[in-house]
């Protein structure tokens, strides 16, 4: 089974802190690695994504770091805000299908 392992399960940081969420995948054929953000009662929404030909991608306060040799990637949230409190999912896959991690519940304290 093509798993994507995500950690930690939950994370609490102070406002302005830099939470880091990590994911590891198994299938070397995967070529697309997105992160999704989900607020309570809503569907997940695409936050940022990276392809394996780059090691880092930044969009606003959100950065993905990608380590192809280790088959790991992570999400960093710079200057985190209480409004960033949500559940974050990593995913990995290819043209036909994505496999999702189990999710990280992030709480940013004011």
């Amino acid at each position: 089974q093509q798993q994507v392992k995500q950690s930690p399960q939950s994370l609490i940081v102070q406002k302005g802190g830099i939470p880091i969420i990590n994911c590891a995948y198994e299938n070397t054929a995967f070529d697309y690695f997105p992160w999704y953000q989900q607020f309570p009662g809503k569907g997940p929404a695409l936050l940022i994504a990276i392809r394996p030909d780059v090691s880092e991608k930044k969009e606003g306060r959100f950065t993905i770091s990608f380590n192809k040799s280790a088959k790991q990637f992570s999400l960093h949230i710079m200057d985190s805000q209480p409004g960033d409190s949500a559940t974050y999912f990593c995913a990995a896959g290819s043209a036909r299908q994505l496999t999702f991690g189990s999710g990280t519940q992030l709480t940013v304290l004011p």
């Binding site: 809503k42 569907g43 997940p44 929404a45 896959g93 994505l98 189990s102």
Partner: protein, 115 residues
Amino acid sequence: DAGITQSPRHKVTETGTPVTLRCHQTENHRYMYWYRQDPGHGLRLIHYSYGVKDTDKGEVSDGYSVSRSKTEDFLLTLESATSSQTSVYFCAISDRTQPANYGYTFGSGTRLTVV
């Protein structure tokens, strides 16, 4: 979410009854997916479709069937609902014609309770 709607939003049903959830899109995307979301399990793929009448099973397909007779509609049927199928169900759509379009757009979900 714009372009994708799920119905109903909430449903309570009895064990053993059939239930059909509907996903409707206006984006003309080829790919559609059904996921279930449960605490500690994240999003798990139930079934997916690559086009009209072209469907395949995901990792948790037992007890579920799907149909796609039109590009815009993807139906998920619980053939005989069980309490283990109590969950939040999400539909997703994707263009996936180019790598930049691999991302999914999710619906708002259907909260199903089987009693």
